[in-house]
């Protein structure tokens, strides 16, 4: 008994739909995130932020007037249009090939690596057709390895852009940025290694299943889920710090530290190529935050179980259910966590001052790498003596 949906939902078709959806959603989140960042930054500094290009919601509320405005919410769109019609200046010493490759390479690997993020439950009965869909684009068992392999190609974008500009500031920024990004990738990789040894898998979806299907510890008034942030707190901290450095965010934004290097590696870029750099940077932010949420914060799993009190139980995700409502809930949990971590990144940006470059390299090599190695050894010893899977069974 094969329905039309079953015939339609072949693996390639589903893969293509999921791929388009993920890229589409990320491309929508980027302007939202830019708006959010500018607004939050403004409020933290007692400014108003963008408030001229309004989005008008066409609905009327009796007694409250006709149209509702969301101040400044179309600012990212206005910026994009402005950038598209700016004159593009190519410096005379530019290496044409690298000049074009730079922005492209800053965006393309990040977009590809998004394929591995599980953005929802791993078994959704697609529209009740009987076809079981895994809510991530590319369901392969070695997703952590491939994700790191592909996303770290983003360094080439910055290096190529800085070198190809044929200008001094971008070159210095590019060299610094490459050194910084590869340095922090070491500690990030070792931290993830400890998390992998806890879960016993290299599959990101398995990470989430591991965290969603059991509890870590029952505190009496509260049951903590088996999220790795509880069982691997040190690895989570190292990953979090390294994440800021990988994304070139303050307090680690050496590549574009304005007082020293003007605009950093994209000083010479203007117009749409600059926009592409920007897009890649924010997509990388979303990618890294999703990765942190997936590995350490339980991915699409909910904080409490479905047997919790009242509406809380209804909001929770059942990791074994296959229905559509459950799939939507799992996706909303994932998005909520990712947005929270993104806001945390913006918050940190206006809280901590920038490090000096030698301090930055010292933190990377002399603090984070030894800590991560020690954490790995601890994990190995603890894993030998504890139960095979899960800590608090």
């Amino acid at each position: 008994m094969e329905s039309v949906l079953q015939l339609l939902f072949t693996d390639p078709v589903i893969g293509l739909i999921k791929g388009l959806l993920v890229i589409g959603v990320v491309l929508q989140i980027v302007p939202l995130l830019i708006y959010l960042e500018r607004k939050l930054s403004a409020y933290m500094q007692g400014r108003l932020g963008p408030n001229r290009v309004n989005f008008v919601v066409p609905y009327a509320v009796p007694g409250l007037g006709g149209l509702r405005l969301v101040p400044g919410s179309l600012q990212p769109l206005a910026d994009a249009i402005k950038l598209a019609f700016k004159e593009e200046i190519i410096p005379k010493d530019a290496d044409k090939l690298l000049w074009y490759l730079g922005p492209f390479l800053a965006f393309f690997p990040i977009a590809t690596a998004l394929a591995f993020i599980p953005f929802g439950i791993n078994h959704w009965d697609a529209l009740g057709s009987g076809v079981i869909v895994d809510l991530r684009v590319c369901s392969v068992p070695i997703s952590v390895l491939l994700l790191f392999a592909i996303s770290s190609l983003g360094v080439y974008g910055i290096a190529a852009g800085g070198w190809g500009s044929g200008s001094k500031y971008p070159l210095m920024a590019a060299v610094r940025a490459s050194a910084q990004m590869i340095s922090y990738e070491v500690s990030m990789g070792i931290a993830v290694l400890a998390a992998m040894a806890t879960v016993g898998s290299v599959d990101l979806q398995q990470f989430v299943v591991h965290q969603a299907t059991q509890d870590f510890v029952d505190l009496g008034f509260l049951t903590l889920p088996n999220w790795l942030v509880f069982s691997q707190p040190l690895a989570a901290l190292i990953f979090l710090v390294a994440m800021f450095a990988e994304n070139n965010r303050l307090p680690f934004d050496m590549p574009e530290c304005e007082p020293e290097l003007v605009g950093g590696f994209h000083t010479e870029y203007s117009g749409l190529k600059f926009a592409l750099f920007f897009l890649g940077e924010y997509a990388a932010m979303i990618l890294m935050c999703s990765l942190f949420v997936t590995i350490f914060l339980g991915g699409w799993g909910s904080f409490w179980d479905t047997d919790a009190w009242g509406v809380f139980g209804w909001v929770a995700v059942d990791p074994h259910a296959t229905d559509g409502i459950n799939a939507i809930k799992s996706h909303l949990w994932f998005m909520a966590k990712v947005m929270a971590i993104l806001c945390f990144q913006i918050w940190i940006r206006w809280t901590l001052p920038r490090f000096r470059y030698d301090q930055l390299m010292n933190i990377g090599w002399k603090v984070l790498v030894p800590l991560a190695l020690g954490n790995l050894v601890l994990t190995a010893i603890a894993g030998y003596f504890l139960n095979p899977i899960g800590v608090g069974q």
Binding site: I23, T112, S167, V175, M196
Partner: protein, 140 residues
């Protein structure tokens, strides 16, 4: 694949080829968007180049020397080499992490895995200590 590793600890099934097809789609979508933006940047916007505009940006001054690609500190090469060393060793540990906590794993195999990783991380740690003592991690 699973017969190649004895003891039932093969945790790295690579999956079928069709499972990787969406990755190709994703890459194609990324190439399309990136390429489209690059192409648009060629057609949109005015193009009025002149001599002053195309000089490399140096805060409004005339560039002080010809050719911007000057020499930079040897430290950056050192960092690159260290990165290759440490990141490669991380990759070597991936199969270990995947197989270490499989349920039903043999106790002797598990002990061997533990000793193995301690040795491996130990060598890595000695390497880091050496670089540290030789002032390979110093910035001035």
């Amino acid at each position: 694949m699973s017969t190649a590793l004895s003891g039932g600890i093969c945790a790295l099934h690579l999956g079928t080829f069709t499972a990787y097809l969406p990755l190709v789609f994703m890459a194609l979508i990324g190439i399309t968007i990136g390429g489209a933006v690059l192409a648009l940047s060629k057609f949109l916007g005015p193009r009025r180049p002149d001599e002053t505009k195309s000089l490399p940006y140096e805060c409004g001054m005339e560039p002080i020397q010809q050719g911007a690609r000057e020499r930079y500190s040897i430290h950056f090469y050192l960092v690159a080499i260290l990165f290759i060393l440490f990141d490669l060793e991380t990759v070597f540990l991936f199969p270990w992490a995947a197989s270490f906590r499989q349920p039903g794993i043999d106790a002797t195999v598990k002990l061997v895995l533990l000793v193995e990783v301690l040795l491996f991380v130990g060598v890595l740690g000695v390497g880091l200590y050496y670089v540290w003592k030789r002032k390979g991690l110093e910035w001035d």
